[in-house]
């Protein structure tokens, strides 16, 4: 069946089988391979993308369910914020992960970034505990999570200083 949706700001129209998972559609049909498949049981969160601005697991959703909706993958993350807030072409979250060594093998990173984006859009200044609870749907087998928690908080600080949510919308009254 034909579906129309927006992916990373671009209108997309494709003919898909109802059984195609959103993650397979993104990777195979649109060649957006930044979104990873890390498990077969919807537990690891490596496939996390934003659906209408909120983190969801694209392995646990059908492409046809995304008809008419907005999807952002890690490839579209940096374009959510203006260029003057990007750091060397990276979204503040990506820059913070880079600077804090919040990854080793990097396989979970795209999913971590998208979940963290959702978390910071709701809570601009999360505590350690709030970051851990917010990222409980994303598994990392390398880092032990410490640098990830730190990176998310650093990105939160950068975004607060810029008066922006991680989705790029202006934020009143949180500028420090």
């Amino acid at each position: 069946m034909i579906i129309e949706l927006t992916v990373n700001g671009r209108a997309v129209r494709r003919d898909v089988e109802p059984r195609a998972l959103l993650v397979d559609f993104l990777r195979e049909e649109l060649s957006l391979t930044g979104t990873k498949i890390g498990c077969d049981t919807s537990q690891c969160g490596a496939c996390t993308v934003l659906l209408d601005g909120h983190a969801v697991k694209s392995c646990n959703m059908l492409a046809v369910q995304a008809q008419g909706r907005r999807v952002v993958t890690v490839e579209g993350l940096r374009d959510l914020v203006p260029e003057n807030v990007q750091q060397e072409g990276l979204h503040p979250l990506q820059a913070a992960f880079w600077n804090s060594h919040a990854l080793q093998c990097g396989f979970c990173t795209p999913g971590m970034l998208m979940s963290a984006c959702d978390l910071l859009s709701e809570n601009p200044d999360p505590s350690d505990e709030e970051v851990r609870h917010g990222l409980e749907g994303n598994l990392c087998r390398c880092t032990g999570y410490e640098p990830i928690v730190f990176a998310v908080q650093q990105a939160g600080k950068t975004l607060r200083e810029a008066g922006l949510s991680p989705l790029g919308t202006a934020r009143e009254g949180v500028r420090e």
Partner: protein, 283 residues
């Protein structure tokens, strides 16, 4: 793994959804957070999926007289943020993980009827009911008549669960949900929801206790409820009431927890849930 082939329809009203579900082999798709994993493992292979996301009648939380109606398609995130009763909000907040809570729905979680589901415990404690709509019309069912076995409910194959109804929170009421998580899966090894109503003198005039992860289905611990009513909910009285929390239950035993351990944890988490409900009821 990719699911087996199926057809897909997206009705825009409840009447259309009921009609679509009447087709042989059709199954409802809400958030898909339990159904799609089963289909990917090929434990389930419906012929047609009836996606409910456009059915407006299934959305939202609103007061209806003495009750609050929670549409079946209301997500765990929205229940955690906007439902009445602390126990219900806490159970929604402890279901799955952030991404699952965004797509997963209360109707889906109730219909999936996982014996370790969090929301069923809270709904049992609250004395909730569900409304089902089928080709023959609408019917109401108490939540404790709804769970009939592991992943089995009293809903007929041609019925759509339209909404969950919980009583409005009255004066002197309090509730809480406390859970021992299986660390890898996040499912409840033991989960206990408690609801209490206290009179002006601090005496318990109504109690509801819902237990999950322990029995064949989530259940209402009626003996414990009866032992609480009429008391001042003192430590000694709570202890005595909790002595009956697994009465007549075949307590589950598996690689994660023995029956003895689960029964013991029912006491501990039951005590915490009752204490939190009592503190709220007094405030």
């Amino acid at each position: 793994m990719t699911p087996e082939e199926f057809g897909y329809v997206r009705p825009s009203s409840l009447a259309e959804a009921v009609a679509a579900l009447a087709q042989p082999g059709a199954k409802l798709l809400a958030g898909g957070q339990s159904l799609l994993p089963l289909m990917r493992l090929r434990f389930a292979a419906p012929k047609t999926l009836v996606d409910l996301q456009d059915v407006a009648e299934l959305r939202g939380i609103e007061a209806r007289g003495e009750e609050v109606r929670i549409g079946a398609f209301t997500s765990h995130v929205d229940v955690a943020a906007g439902a009445p009763w602390q126990a219900l909000r806490e159970a929604a907040e402890q279901t799955g993980d952030r991404q699952v809570r965004r797509l997963g729905t209360i109707g889906g979680a109730v219909s999936h009827a996982d014996p370790a589901g969090d929301l069923p415990a809270a709904l049992l404690a609250l004395g909730a009911r569900v409304e089902l709509v089928g080709p023959e019309g609408r019917r109401s069912l108490a939540i404790d008549e709804f769970f009939v076995g592991p992943l089995m409910t009293a809903a007929q194959e041609n019925e759509v669960l339209e909404a969950v109804f919980v009583p409005a929170e009255g004066k002197g009421s309090g509730s809480a949900y406390r859970k021992l998580r299986q660390e890898a899966s996040g499912f409840a090894l033991v989960g206990v929801a408690a609801r209490l109503r206290l009179d002006g003198a601090g005496r318990c005039v109504a109690a509801g206790i819902g237990v999950t992860g322990v029995g064949f289905t989530p259940y209402r611990a009626r003996a414990t409820e009866e032992l609480l009513v009429g008391t001042a909910v003192s430590d000694v009285e709570v202890e005595k009431a909790l002595g009956a929390i697994v009465q007549d239950i075949d307590v589950a035993s598996d690689a994660y927890a023995s029956a003895e351990y689960r029964a013991e944890m029912c006491q501990l988490f039951g005590r915490q849930a009752i204490a939190a409900a009592k503190a709220q009821a007094r405030s």
